[in-house]
Symmetry: C2
Subunit: 336 residues, 2 copies
C-alpha cells in the first residue's frame, strides 16, 4: 500500500477498502473462512452449520429519514447472516457511547433496535457497554454480531456465480445513501427520500423454500450495487452484463443523484439484495421476491457470462457498453 | 435514573454501569439469557451448547506495558467465553479506525492480536472495518465477539455460588489497571508494572478436566475483584467473607496504589479469574491453577456464606470487618 496512514477511503467499501483488507488484514489472519470475504463466515458445529457475522455501525447522523443507528445495526447484521443463506437466531450488541449522549436518544435508538429484532424474529442475548470521554467518539457506535443456522443443502458463497445465472436485484438502488446524505447535509427536496433499512431474512427464507439452487446472495451496502457485482465477479472468476435501463431507481433518488453528481450504482442500500440463480429458476424466484413487502420493485438486471472474467459490463440506454468498475475513492463516508 | 445524559461513570463497570444496564437496557431487551448478565450467553444448537460473548475495547493508550489494544481485545473475549466454561473456538473482529491512524500502528496491533489468537488456539473467521473522520473516534476501537463450545455437564453461571464454596483468585490484583494508568499519565516508578493481559482458557480447561463441579468463574476486569464479588453475591443471593491479608498484590502495585490513593480491589485485571468451588475440591483446583503460567500466585481469598446475602465482608488485617461495596463512581475510564 502506498499510504502510511488510514484515510477515509479505506472505509468506503470500494477499492481502497479492498486493498486494506487484502494487503494488511488477510496476510495476518489467513485462514480459508476469513479469506472467503463473504458477509459472514460459516462453520460446522455438532454436525450442523452456523453462520457468524459482525458489523460496526458509525452512521452520521444517528437519526435519518426511515430509521436510525439502532434498527440499522440490527437489520445490517441480520441481513449479512441471511446473505449466507442462514436463518438468523442470536445477536450480540456492543455499545460505545460518548460522554454526554442524551439518555433519551439512547433509549430511542434501543427501542428501534428492539422493534427490528422483533421484526426479524431474532434475540439479543449478550451485550457490552463502553463510555468514552466527550470528543473520543461521535455520540454512539454500535457493533452487532450475529449467529444463524444454515439449512441443509444450502450452499451460497461469493465465489458461486456461474455463467448463465440471472442477476436479480430486489428493489430500487441508493435509497439509504441518499436518505443519510440529505439528512446530514441538511438538504431539502420536494419529495423526501426514506432509507430502505429492513430485515431481508424472511425474503431469503421464502426464496430458499422455493429452491436451494441459489448461487450467491449479497446485500449491496457500502459501495453499492456496482461494487458488490465487481466483488462477486472477481471471486467467482466470471463476467457479468447488466442493463442500464433495467436498474431500478426512484424518480426522487434519480433526480437528487443527477443534481449532486452521484451515481446510484455506488450508493448504499440497507434493505436490498442481489440474488444469483440459474436461469431456469429466475422467474419463480423473482416472483417470490416481488411478493415480499420490500421486494415489490425487484427485477432481473443482467446475467453472468463466461467472457471477460472479473469484469462487469453495462449495456447503456443508448446501446453502448461501458465497464462498471469497483467504487474508487470516497463516495459517502459513515453511511452505515 | 436521575441523569439525563451518559456520564463516564456509566462505563465504569461499577454501580452506575449496573444501573444503566438494569434500568435502560434490560427492560428493552428482556429475555432470560440476557438477564443472566453473565460475561457471555449460552444457547443450545443441534443438541450442543455454545457460548457467545461480545466486548468493545476502547483502551487509552492503545499501547501499554505488557500489551496493546490488539491482544487485549482477543484475550478479553477469549476469557469471557472461558468464564462460561466454554472452549473458545471462533472470533469476529470489528475495527473502527480514526482517519489518520498510522498503518504501522494498525499492523502492530493486529500482529499482537494474531499472536494472542494463536496462544489461545482460536480462529478469527469474520471481520469488518469502518473508518470515521479525524476527531470522530480516538485512534482505534476494536470489537471482538466470540463463540465457544460448552462441554457436557459444565454448568457455570453467576448465580451458582453456594454457601461453603471457596473463592480462589488466580493471581495478583490490579496489574492491568496500574499499567494502563501509569502509561496514560506518563508516571514513572522504580519498577514498571506490566499488564497481566493473557488468555485464561487453557487454565479453565485444566480446572474442568479435574472437576466439573465449578460453580462460578469470573474474570474481574472493569470494576475489579471488589465489583465482581458483589455482582456474584447479588446474583447468587449469598454472602461472602474475604480475608484482606490473603489478597495478592505485588509490592510495586501496592506502592503505587498507596501513593495515588487507589484501592487495588477495584482496579482492572485482564488475566485473572475468580473461581468458586465446593470446599472439598478447593485445594486440588488451587494446585492446578498454580501450575498454569499465569496462576503462580493463586490463593484462596475467602468463602461463600449463607449470612448477609448480597453482601461481601472483608476481615481486615487488624482483625476488624468492613463491607466491600461495588465500585461507585469513576475509577479509571477507558481501561479496556
Amino acid at each position: 500500500m502506498g499510504n502510511t496512514k488510514i484515510l477515509l477511503d479505506h472505509g468506503s467499501g470500494g477499492k481502497m477498502a479492498h486493498q486494506l483488507t487484502t494487503e494488511v488484514l488477510l496476510p495476518l489472519f489467513d485462514n480459508p473462512m476469513l479469506a472467503m470475504l463473504h458477509d459472514g463466515a460459516v462453520f460446522e458445529v455438532n454436525k450442523g452449520r452456523l453462520a457468524f457475522s459482525t458489523d460496526s455501525y458509525v452512521v452520521d447522523p444517528i437519526f435519518f429519514p426511515g430509521g436510525d443507528i439502532g434498527d440499522l445495526a440490527v437489520n445490517g447484521t441480520v441481513n449479512d447472516l441471511a446473505m449466507c443463506g442462514a436463518v438468523p437466531r442470536y445477536l450480540s450488541m456492543g455499545l460505545i457511547l460518548e460522554e454526554g449522549l442524551p439518555i433519551d436518544d439512547l433509549r430511542r435508538i434501543l427501542t428501534s433496535a428492539r422493534k427490528a429484532l422483533d421484526q426479524a424474529g431474532v434475540q439479543l442475548i449478550t451485550g457490552d457497554t463502553k463510555v468514552v470521554p466527550r470528543g473520543a467518539a461521535d455520540k454512539i457506535f454500535i457493533n452487532t454480531t450475529g449467529i444463524g443456522v444454515v439449512p441443509a443443502r444450502v450452499k451460497i458463497s461469493a465465489d458461486g456465480a456461474r455463467p448463465g445465472d440471472k442477476i436479480i436485484l430486489s428493489g430500487t438502488m441508493a435509497d439509504h445513501g441518499i436518505a443519510v446524505l440529505t439528512q446530514r447535509e441538511g438538504l431539502r427536496f420536494e419529495s423526501e427520500v426514506i432509507s430502505d433499512t429492513a430485515p431481508l431474512n424472511h425474503m431469503v427464507q421464502a426464496i430458499l423454500a422455493l429452491t436451494r439452487a441459489v448461487h450467491v446472495l449479497r446485500d449491496p451496502t457500502r459501495g453499492g450495487v456496482g461494487t458488490a457485482l465487481n466483488e462477486i465477479a472477481l471471486q467467482s472468476k466470471v463476467g457479468m452484463v447488466i442493463e442500464e435501463e433495467k436498474l431500478p431507481v426512484t424518480p426522487a433518488v434519480a433526480g437528487i443523484c443527477e443534481l449532486l453528481g452521484f451515481d446510484p450504482l455506488y450508493l448504499a442500500n440497507e434493505g436490498k439484495l442481489l440474488c444469483f440463480v440459474p436461469a431456469r429458476h429466475a422467474k419463480a424466484v423473482l416472483s417470490i421476491i416481488q411478493q415480499s413487502p420490500c421486494g415489490r420493485n425487484a427485477c432481473i438486471i443482467g446475467q453472468v457470462v463466461a467472457d471477460h472474467p472479473g469484469r462487469v459490463i453495462m449495456q447503456t440506454r443508448i446501446g453502448g457498453q461501458r465497464i462498471v468498475d469497483m467504487l474508487s475513492g470516497e463516495q459517502l463516508p459513515r453511511i452505515c
